[in-house]
Symmetry: C2
Subunit: 242 residues, 2 copies
DNA sequence: CTTATCCGGTTGTCTATACAACATAATTTT
DNA sequence: AAAATTATGTTGTATAGACAACCGGATAAG
């Protein structure tokens, strides 16, 4: 029997969601098993059916549950249900994949945008942008050369930041922007001389090249980045849905 | 003034959603503009507030709209709002990116699974699997070498398929499986002799290597695939969310 | 003038209820 | 025995209303 707290500031549907999530991850509800019907959950939690549905809805999106109309709600098999399409920082991944992260700042400057950068940031050619070039190390080995562009007008105080510790995103959030999503395109390219040297690899070595545009809640482009990742040390996982 | 049809089989909230979507794409609602409040939409469409909310909710997920509590619902800037995390077939992408698609079947056999394949499909080592190896051409040029593995027991009638025309997914759906999502991991590797020859490129050329596991609604792995994509002719776009 | 309070508008959460659509199993009819 | 019908349980859609939380601006108090 579950007890929900009425006044701890957490919405009831969120409490329902987390209670169900716990039961799934700790095995009270086994993969493939049918959950109690909405009516039963309604009775158990002492909330209305719509509230139960709202809680379940989130778990459906996560792929932890699936439903069959007229049949029931079921726990999905363990195999996948991970959402790999979350926007994370280099330090975040370092923590979840447990490697030691270090960032070296190679360049930190203001320059005038052109072609690709201007177009991606949806600004006029010639508008000033920050350019931050960093080299990123995992467990002491270089894995990514990172070129990042941010419109100057968005966040002028960006200049006095130590980008070895504070990421540009935090700076952007301090300027009042809420980062919402990013679109990135990856392809495989061969390392040129300059890049190979920085990444301590051979000319022609395969690199995972990534272009990423980060946008705010309202769709304004906040950042455009080019990443050259060492192919032998970097992989990218995504989840696709039908 | 919008008129919703009560009995055309389309849910009211879906009609609300599509009506709003149209107004956004055709510019009746401009980027950045505030939508009429839920109350107003309720009145206009002649449906209840929860129905309006359900319709809006989908557009929020798509990033077409965003909300600020206490303020309103707004149209996002045009820039991004495309969901690139949809599971599509080779022929689907051919249509949307308008290139001519052709598939050559190199191998079509049943073999015994081991290591990576067995683990990815969540079956025992030694269980039989279909192996379908294809070479895929865009506008006549080879771009992808595709190795695909499907547990034999899922769909024995898979043997008599012409995989130049019918994709394995259609076969799986005919066997009653509903493909739900896929997890894929990409990295950049160098082409070996065999692969280089098939893809008509040089040994050592950068390839975008992709491992993909496709799972059904209930989380059962249906297919595991290895794709070797020519780096200079293939790129992959994904959308990440905070 | 500045600060504090109030007010109206908006989205967020929640309730209680009703009927539709669908799937399975049991029952009845043929 | 087979087919059609009915019954029952489940999720899907929709309603009408209520109050909470939040924001911004207007108003009042200092």
């Amino acid at each position: 029997m579950a007890v929900l707290s009425k006044d701890n500031g957490v919405a009831l549907y969120a409490q329902v969601r987390e209670t169900l999530r716990n039961r799934i991850v700790n095995g009270s509800y086994q993969p493939g098993e049918r959950l109690p019907a909405e009516e039963a959950l309604t009775a158990e939690f002492g909330v209305s059916r719509m509230t139960v549905r709202q809680g379940i809805s989130d778990l459906l999106d996560e792929g932890l549950l699936y439903r069959k109309r007229g049949i029931g709600t079921f726990v999905a098999q363990r195999h996948v249900h991970r959402d790999h399409n979350r926007l994370t920082t280099f330090f975040d991944s370092a923590e979840s994949e447990s490697f030691e992260a270090r960032i070296a700042v190679l360049k930190q400057e203001v320059l005038l945008s052109r072609h690709l950068v201007a177009r991606s940031l949806n600004i006029l050619e010639g508008e000033p942008v920050f350019h931050i070039q960093t080299l990123r190390f995992a467990d002491g080995l270089p894995i990514t050369l990172h070129d990042e562009f941010i419109p100057y007008k968005l966040c002028p105080e960006m200049l006095d930041h130590d980008f070895t510790q504070v990421l540009s995103w935090e700076a952007l959030e301090r300027c009042g922007f809420r980062i919402k999503q990013a679109v990135q395109r990856v392809e495989a390219i061969a390392a040129d001389g300059q890049t190979a040297k920085l990444l301590e690899t051979e000319i022609g070595a395969p690199l995972l090249y990534k272009e990423r545009t980060v946008v705010a809640e309202d769709g304004t482009p906040l950042e455009f980045a080019l990443c050259y990742n060492r192919g032998d040390r970097y992989s990218l996982t995504t989840t696709l849905t039908r």
